[in-house]
Symmetry: C2
Subunit: 338 residues, 2 copies
DNA sequence: GTGAAAGCGCTAACAG
DNA sequence: CTGTTAGCGCTTTCAC
């Protein structure tokens, strides 16, 4: 029962392997009747073509990979959901790899994937600290279709799916200011990620357009480590130059902030107004409810996967410069009330 | 540069392919000096063995699969994180498949994976509605190592990683009662999942041990659809026989409940006390902060993967009856204050 | 310690 | 419409 192969099938049918192969591939050069016979016997024996053999022969397969920094983050979880949605529909198998924000890990992963395991790659970058040479190199070595989403290497010529970070951060910051903030700060990642840079640009532009002065210490580099983050924020809120508004660019950051404010009895929104960039379903249930800029994560995943599969199946050419921009959504809640 | 293979390597080295193969595999029958030469040239050319060829030849590979109902759920996201933690360390590639609670999808997936793509499987089941024949069948057909976690098929003889659902639900329910609840209810999944059954058992036992009467309508079957769920809960809280305590067995359920209570102005914890089974980082920040039973999800994933890889690498035999039980953690917060 | 040869299961020319 | 043949790139006897 286990491991019946085409040769045995062919033998039992009194046909040649190649005929069987073509029949199973629904080739036009095979008669309907043989196709039927072949398919029936294949089903009877629960025959499944060996993907290694066929991939080896065809020099490609229906496997792709996702490389993301983290899965315990609603944004990425939703994106994976979106990706899986389309790969499943098209019968692709999807590998998942997590970099945990480690550049080393990301490089090692790409190098590993040069072995030809996959036919395409969806990536959200872990860091821009040392440039994106490894992606370029991967591409040179493999010529594999790659699509980036959200955290994209801005300087590289690859198809990308992003959301309108500049505009939405501009709008959010404007709301912060409108609600009375004179000295809002921006909780930023430590790495020079394009996504984050765009948001900072939006933040700055909103300040300047409201006639407020921007200073470097308005950008607070946060850590992905919750404990470290907590201490750093605590220090800031204990200092005399306490901020009166916060834009938290990452899901985790707003959570840390809420904890700090709770413990220090800093009142949100009276003492400090907050907007968080995230996709937490619980945002509306926090105390106070958290105003959010949420990204269309599921759809970003879907778009990225759709694009990738098109490239793999060559239904589209030279997608290399495609940039798909989706819209973020601003939801004002209690944390921003004047 | 792209696609150099062993034959070319061998040619350039003036060696035979088999020698090169053995050298790269660090075989004892190859001299240290040739090994060195081979490895150096391989590195120089960035040679990567073709996994399809080697998998085909060896009839197995270093790929495994995860099948889970959902990734947009902190429990599963954390479990995947735990799994990836160990597969990464051992250089396994990990496929991810989502069933979205669909039995059909689950069956189709298993059937697909009978093609031999993977060497092992980690599963959290989507439903027990029609038994677990498909898992048994998959095993008969493939003899592949399989490990179940959390949502496990209780009647099947496979290794499992679970947490102490009975005990922790018992304890949680006891706390609900101790806080004054006379008529607590249990928000349950619709499917007869083992996990859930265990929790219900714990719930019932706690009632009976406190001398309270159990009635069938204390078990409320919730939907995974948030909207549907919302309406159903709303109805319950508008009825005259309003519950005074809730144990929410799934992450989403507590969220829906909070929304309903907020909208209906039912006060938590005064009017109804709540404990939720989940791993939300925001539980402490909800209003009121949510008491939780949290599962050791990351570790469950780790244990499951560790066990699976051991089975694959035959370092352990007949693990078929292994059941690893980890402990859940009860955290009391405002939602339960008397 | 090294090499020759067979073949994993499949696909794709090419012939007929 | 069907069959023959030649590999895909690697591992593994078995000789030497």
């Amino acid at each position: 029962m286990k491991g019946i192969n085409m040769i045995q099938l062919a033998k039992e049918l009194g046909l040649s392997v190649s005929t069987v192969s073509k029949a199973l591939g629904d080739s036009h050069e095979i008669s309907a009747s043989t196709k039927k016979r072949v398919n029936e016997l294949a089903k009877k024996y629960n025959y499944k073509p060996n993907p290694f053999a066929s991939n080896l022969r065809k020099k490609k397969g229906k496997q792709i990979a996702i490389i993301i920094p983290d899965i315990v983050n609603n944004f990425f979880a939703l994106a994976v959901d979106g990706i899986e949605h389309v790969t499943m529909a098209k019968n692709y198998d999807t590998f998942i790899y997590l970099t945990h924000e480690s550049l080393e890990r990301e490089k090692a992963l790409l190098e590993h994937l040069e072995n030809g395991l996959i036919s395409g790659l969806i990536i959200s970058v872990s860091s821009g600290r040392e440039g994106y040479g490894h992606f370029q190199e991967f591409y040179e070595n493999t010529k594999l279709p790659m699509v980036f989403f959200d955290r994209v290497p801005d300087l590289l010529q690859f198809p990308k799916v992003i959301s309108n970070n500049y505009e939405s951060t501009f709008d959010a910051t404007a709301r912060l200011i409108k609600a009375g903030c004179k000295r809002p700060i921006f909780f930023s990642t430590q790495e020079p990620l394009f996504t984050n840079m765009e948001r900072i640009r939006g933040f700055q532009a909103a300040l300047s357009s409201a006639g407020l002065l921007f200073s470097e210490d308005m950008i607070v580099k946060c850590s992905y480590d919750m404990d470290q983050n907590y201490s750093a924020l605590r220090k800031i809120f204990l200092s005399k130059k306490r901020p009166d508004g916060v834009f938290a660019s990452i899901e985790k950051f707003a959570i840390s902030l809420y904890q700090v404010c709770k413990d220090l009895e800093v009142n949100i929104p009276r003492d400090v107004k907050v907007i968080g960039m995230n996709n937490l379903r619980t945002a509306a249930l926090l105390s106070p409810s958290l105003s959010t800029v949420s990204q269309p994560s599921f759809n970003m995943g879907k778009e990225a996967a759709t694009l990738l599969l098109k490239m793999i199946e060559k239904k589209t050419y030279a997608a290399a410069n495609d940039i798909i921009v989706l819209k973020n959504e601003l939801t004002i809640r209690e944390s921003l009330h004047a």
